[in-house]
């Protein structure tokens, strides 16, 4: 088992190969390639319109690339419909929070387990023994995640009625419920204050360590990426302009010009 793991660690968990996306005449991504190693936190940075969210949406199969490939553990994900991405261990959050607003927090998290459970409308309607047992196991798992993220107190509240910060946390809980190998976080720091961003960085590192996940962090907030990520990929105008450790990327002249320079940081 450990040897297996060691052997695998030489292969990337996910690899993006020469990926291009065009919308009409606009090239949103142009030949982007990088690898994600198991257990790493990879930060994806770039100014507005750099192609971060486009790349993200390719990973969750909302966009079809015009060229290139995305390999998860060596197999292309581009043959899968969007709803069959969760089952291979890719789970995401959304930039502007996409919860199920009329469902309670606990139901939102229960939906997160959909790809890790089975059932059909007949056995569900009859509430057969196997359904009861599956629901009991699901309850333990959901309760553990709610506890892990400090959401037990709001478990039965309607998602839409919660403050934005808590909604983001519910979305994270829902993504964790899918037991992903890769957690895709789309601008998780958006709308958070300074202290909250700091706490978020700690939480992401804790999740990586304690739940053995690989994280792709798409983020505007440079401070969060630099303090959290192991490896950083910088995009600008749809191209990769730099890749390396946070300090390497931070000192890259192209990155400074494209992004940091403008922000005087």
């Amino acid at each position: 088992m450990t040897e297996d793991r060691l052997a695998q660690s030489h292969n990337p968990l996910l690899s993006v190969r020469d990926l291009s996306v065009a919308f009409g005449g606009i090239v949103a991504l142009n030949g982007v390639s990088f690898d994600m190693q198991r257990g790493h936190i990879l930060g994806l940075i770039g100014p507005n319109g750099a192609g971060k969210t486009t790349l993200f949406n390719c990973l969750s199969r909302l966009y079809q690339p015009s060229k290139g490939d995305i390999l998860m553990e060596g197999a292309s994900i581009l043959t899968r419909p969007p709803y069959r991405i969760a089952e291979i261990g890719i789970s995401r959050t959304f930039q502007n929070v996409a919860l199920f607003p009329n469902l309670s927090v606990i139901d939102n998290v229960r939906v997160g387990t959909h790809s890790r459970s089975n059932g059909n409308i007949v056995s569900d309607s009859l509430k057969l023994g196997q359904v009861r047992r599956a629901e009991a196991a699901l309850e333990r798992k959901v309760d553990e995640i709610l506890g892990y993220l400090g959401l037990r107190g709001v478990a039965h509240a309607v998602a839409a009625e919660l403050p934005f910060v808590t909604q983001k946390r519910v979305e994270l809980a829902r993504a964790l419920a899918a037991e992903p190998k890769i957690l895709l976080l789309d601008e998780p720091a958006g709308g958070l204050n300074h202290d909250e961003v700091h706490g978020l960085g700690e939480l992401i590192r804790r999740i990586r360590k304690e739940r053995e996940m690989t994280v792709l962090l798409v983020e505007h907030h440079m401070g969060l990426v630099m303090s959290t990520a192991d490896h950083v990929v910088a995009l600008n105008f749809g191209r990769k302009i730099a890749e390396g450790t946070p300090s390497q990327v931070q000192s890259d002249p192209q990155v400074i010009e494209a992004y940091l320079g403008n922000k005087n940081r």
Binding site: P81, P82, Y83, R84, I85, A86, E87, S91, R92, F94, A98, L99, F100, P101, N102, L103, S104, I106, D107, R110, V111, G112, H114, S115, S117, G119, I121, D124, S125, L126, K127, V131, E135, L138, G150, L151, G153, V154, H156, A157, V158, E161, L162, P163, V165, T166, K168, R169, R174, A178, L192, D195, E196, V197, H198, G199, L200, G201, E202, L203
Partner: protein, 339 residues
């Protein structure tokens, strides 16, 4: 991080209890009281009223089916009368032409309508909101004419329709035909209600409601949106078909003009009056569409339609969330008394 903020959120959070499993149904105690009332009701009233109560149960089942579709998966339908007609004709034809026992025709009607609903759901996947409502409207408008088709006349009886024999109580039970039919319908209604509550509070039901709330997020969580939408259409059509079959048996007659768009609109209206997405409201909505036209007629024979319209407006203005809102108000009053 968000720890501090979320602690604050916890104290600020509304004490609402919004689990799908709980918001969809009534508590066990209330359910049993209502069941008891439904069990004794036929003993207290005349046979004609028993027949009307049977009609309420049948429409209640059909409205429940619409509630699963609209309240559950967020899809609209003005075409439920088509599935109701299909179920009614399937049962009537099986009883009259094939001599099948009336009770056995109901699951067959359910299966036939499931298939029809599922198939209709496939093209309907491309439509949503008002456009889906219009597509289903077209189905409802076409149905009575399709039933009159000359080619189908040997089975359907064409414009004349089919007469169905009224079943006697089995095992020589000492109850009238009307009372037997009532209890038979009640048993089926209760079974369908329980199965629907189970369904909506299960993994499948959560998937339907997730789709209703946000399709992209549902898909990202591994839910096959197209499959669940069409399945929901199928389930809704199946339950409507069973209601239709029961309707054919109760009324002892099926004819094309019993299943016009007016029936579909009545069912839609019943769902809104009962409270969209609240399953027990289906019974209240059914009572509304069966009894309120009579009430309107007793107020003014010549203007019964206008009186009905006014009564409907009053309901919509006073309780836009329908019976669900009334139930919530009752619950909070009782809660305050206890507290």
């Amino acid at each position: 991080m968000m720890v501090d903020a979320s602690r604050k959120a916890i104290s600020d959070a509304p004490p609402s209890d919004a689990d799908a499993a709980r918001t969809m149904r009534l508590g066990t105690g209330t359910s049993l009281v209502i069941l008891l009332l439904l069990l004794v009701a036929p003993l207290l009233v005349k046979n004609f009223i028993v027949f009307q109560l049977t009609t309420v149960l049948i429409y209640g089942i059909a409205i429940l089916a619409l509630n699963i579709l609209t309240g559950g998966s967020g899809q609209f339908s003005l075409g439920q009368s088509a599935f109701y007609a299909l179920g009614a004709y399937t049962s009537a034809i099986l009883i009259e032409h094939a001599g099948v026992n009336y009770a056995l025709t109901l699951p067959i009607s359910g299966i036939v309508c499931f298939a029809a609903g599922f198939l209709f759901g496939l093209p309907a996947l491309r439509l949503s909101g008002v456009y889906l409502a219009l597509a289903t409207f077209a189905l409802a408008v076409a149905t009575p004419q399709l039933l009159k088709l000359g080619a189908l006349e040997p089975w359907t009886g064409g414009v004349q329709g089919l007469v169905v024999d009224k079943p006697d109580a089995p095992f020589g039970l000492p109850v009238s035909q009307d009372a037997w039919l009532y209890y038979f319908t009640l048993a089926i209604a209760v079974a369908i209600y329980i199965a629907s509550v189970n369904l909506l509070s299960s993994r499948s039901g959560r998937a339907m409601m997730a789709i209703r709330d946000n399709e992209i997020a549902a898909s990202a969580m591994g839910i096959n949106v197209a499959l669940y939408k069409t399945l929901t259409f199928g389930v809704s059509a199946a339950i409507t078909g069973i209601a239709g079959g029961l309707g054919a048996i109760a009324v002892q007659f099926v004819a094309p003009d019993s299943f016009t768009i007016q029936l579909a609109i009545a069912l839609f209206l019943g769902m809104v009056v009962g409270g969209v997405g609240w399953l027990p409201g289906s019974l209240v909505g059914a009572a509304f569409i069966v009894f309120i036209p009579n009430v309107a007629e007793s107020i003014s024979k010549g203007l019964s339609g206008a009186v009905f319209g006014v009564l409907l407006l009053v309901v919509i203005f006073l309780v836009p969330d329908g019976a669900r809102q009334v139930a919530q108000a009752c619950r909070s009053v009782i809660g305050r008394r206890k507290g």
